[in-house]
């Protein structure tokens, strides 16, 4: 067993860290306060090749592995949760399904610009009445004269206003047991009848673009179907498994940011005539935070390693996502506590991290759903 990262992985992490420190971090507060999507940042990330890390060069990617990608998500998320979420969603949800399930033509048309970072990808699964229960999807796509006619509504879809390619899930029929067949279809945002807006005022990840999609008799060619028509559900479950690793990495990144600030602050802040880091109550908090971050990071790396080696990783991705997201909320909360009244103020950036990281317990499968996934893997 070898816990050492490869030279390439270390270089990817160093590159992402430098870029995150110099470009992303200074913009983080504004991105949050103004709820301003950092378009420029994404264009620069595209030029560096960050948007295409896990895709081959033939498709405009960088030819890296999942571990390298998680290292980049961690560093970007550490600097700015909003940027981290849009990054993870663009790669894991927007581009990855096209790489896994797209035809050669679809990869040429859609994956290459995504991997090069010329545009962002979005993946629309959630509906007002179908969140955790994705099987309850109500959006429909009816095949007529070689075209799908799509009707329905999607909510909280990340990046859709900045995407040239939006994948939506829709019911396309029923199987022999009378259950809905759910398929994934690529829809261009400028299609007639397709309305994309961002009407939400969010608690955290405020600079990440979160959209409502309304599809009113939207027509796309039958060739826009992504992957196997009958296996849409399985496909997006697999997509979400991969996405969970990146959300876990994002949570680790945010937690590391909060921990580093807490450690530093504990040495600077003096009360009762001494650094607060000399109080055991503070030391124990810091010890727990550091330990949990390391554990979560190891789980993320293991899940990513399994994925890179084409081994099953559903359970490990759920472990990583569940533990890392809950750990990050605890860590940000404790960091805020260590900062006392200052932590409650915006300028310290800790309250933002706490607000941002809460999403990690909800998006791409809530904590409850992760426990459900794990229990199923255990044979329950």
């Amino acid at each position: 067993m070898n816990f050492e990262l490869t030279e390439e992985q270390k270089m990817v992490a160093a590159l992402a860290r430098d870029f995150a420190t110099e470009v992303i971090a200074p913009r983080a507060e504004e991105v949050d306060v103004q709820a301003a999507f950092p378009v420029e940042t994404f264009l620069e990330m595209g030029k560096l090749g960050l948007m295409g890390i896990p895709f081959p060069e033939d498709y405009g990617g960088s030819g890296g592995d999942t571990i390298s990608y998680t290292l980049a998500v961690e560093e970007i998320g550490k600097a700015c949760g909003s940027t981290g979420l849009s990054y993870a969603a663009a790669v894991s949800l927007g581009a990855a399904p096209i790489y896994y399930y797209g035809t050669e033509q679809q990869k040429q048309d859609y994956l290459i610009p995504l991997a090069k970072g010329e545009t962002l990808g979005a993946f629309g699964l959630t509906e007002p009445n179908a969140g955790s229960d994705a099987g309850g999807t109500r959006t429909t796509a009816v095949l007529e004269n070689g075209e799908y006619r799509i009707n329905g509504e999607k909510c909280w879809i990340t990046n859709a206003q900045y995407a040239r390619t939006i994948i939506v899930t829709a019911v396309t029929g029923k199987d022999e047991r009378g259950r809905n067949i759910i398929s994934a279809i690529i829809v261009p945002p400028d299609a007639d009848g397709f309305t994309i807006s961002s009407p939400y005022n969010k608690m955290g990840v405020r600079g990440s673009n979160t959209c409502e999609l309304i599809l009113d008799d939207v027509r796309v060619p039958a060739g826009n179907l992504l992957g196997d028509p009958a296996k849409g559900f399985k496909q997006f479950l697999h997509t979400l498994d991969g996405g969970r690793i990146s959300i876990a990495a994002l949570a680790v990144g945010i937690a590391r940011g909060a921990f580093e600030k807490a450690l530093q602050y504990s040495h600077e802040r003096r009360q009762f005539g001494t650094e607060i880091s000399s109080f055991q109550a503070i030391q124990f908090k810091l010890a727990d935070m550091a330990m949990e971050i390391e554990l979560a990071q190891n789980m993320v790396r293991k899940a990513a390693w399994l994925k890179d080696h084409n081994k099953p990783f559903t359970k490990e991705a759920a472990y990583a996502k569940l533990f890392a997201s809950e750990m990050a909320s605890r860590t940000c909360n404790q960091s805020l506590q260590i900062h006392g009244g200052y932590g409650y103020m915006r300028e310290y950036g800790i309250e933002r991290m706490l607000r941002d990281t809460k999403l990690m317990e909800i998006g791409e499968g809530t904590s409850e759903i992760q426990r459900l996934v794990i229990a199923r893997q255990l044979g329950c």
Binding site: E7, E8, M11, G49, E57, S62
Partner: protein, 257 residues
């Protein structure tokens, strides 16, 4: 254009450095490409983009330096050469490195060699100049602007804050100063490609060098960190009285005037 870059692996002077018994604790130190050499590499890439050619990055060091060479390859160098000193029994200083580089470059046909102005670890600024002397090649140090047309070269160099304009010709060695350019990040595809690019290791004794002849001319007797900065002094009163006090202190306490 046949472009060469001299690169040094150094510890990061912005990170914590621990010195024990006159030696730097390498376990605890962070190692990087010498920042001034990044200007050299960036300029090399700019030259290649404008004039075509090939970039070879050269370092004198030990196996660990492969990591920094890979970084240079990821930024855009085409080939890397490690002049390996592992088998050297004698002490090494700037003279030694200059001799090893000179021996290597005697067999190369360089149009231009770019180095950093100084290395941030010892700040000597000697190696590149020694190489130019060894090769009897034109050299211009601390450059902040470089234009090449044919074999004619126009350079702006930093002279204690002033600018000097120099005209010279290829082949040429220059050392690069802050302000010359903004080094790029290595790109992700660059990082992935770096491991496939050639990295050649040449043992110094394969360069027909005699260990004793190139042994260090200097000895390092001690190393120590600069003294901790003491608490500052804030002067009070009117501007005029503050200036008075300052002059007094510079005379009596700092004894600099």
């Amino acid at each position: 254009m046949n472009i060469f870059v001299l690169m040094k692996r150094t510890f990061d002077t912005e990170e914590k450095i621990i010195i024990e018994n006159g030696r730097i604790d390498e376990e605890g130190a962070e190692f990087i490409v010498n920042p001034y050499d990044e200007y050299a590499l960036e300029e090399a890439i700019v030259l290649k983009e404008a004039h075509g050619g090939e970039i070879t990055v050269v370092t004198v060091g030990e196996e660990e330096a492969e990591k920094e060479l890979r970084t240079a390859l990821a930024m855009g160098a085409d080939k890397a050469v490690l002049l390996n000193m592992e088998d050297m029994d004698e002490a090494i200083d700037h003279y030694t490195i200059g001799e090893v580089l000179t021996a290597y470059f005697k067999d190369q046909e360089a149009d231009i060699i770019l180095g950093g102005n100084v290395a941030v670890d010892d700040g000597a600024g000697q190696v590149a100049s020694r190489l130019a002397e060894g090769l009897q090649m034109n050299q211009v140090t601390t450059i902040t602007k470089l234009d090449i047309e044919g074999t004619k070269v126009t350079i702006e160099r930093d002279v204690e804050g002033d600018v000097e304009i120099v005209e010279t010709s290829l082949p040429l060695l220059v050392t690069c100063q802050q302000g010359l350019n903004d080094p790029r990040y290595p790109s992700l595809p660059g990082i992935m490609k770096a491991k496939k690019k050639p990295l050649e290791t040449i043992d110094f004794d394969d360069l027909d060098l005699d260990e004793e002849e190139i042994a260090a001319k200097t000895t390092t007797t001690d190393r120590f960190l600069p003294p901790e900065k003491g608490a500052g002094k804030i002067l009070e009163g009117s501007t005029e009285s503050q200036a008075q006090q300052l002059v007094e202190l510079l005379k009596s306490e700092a004894k600099v005037i």
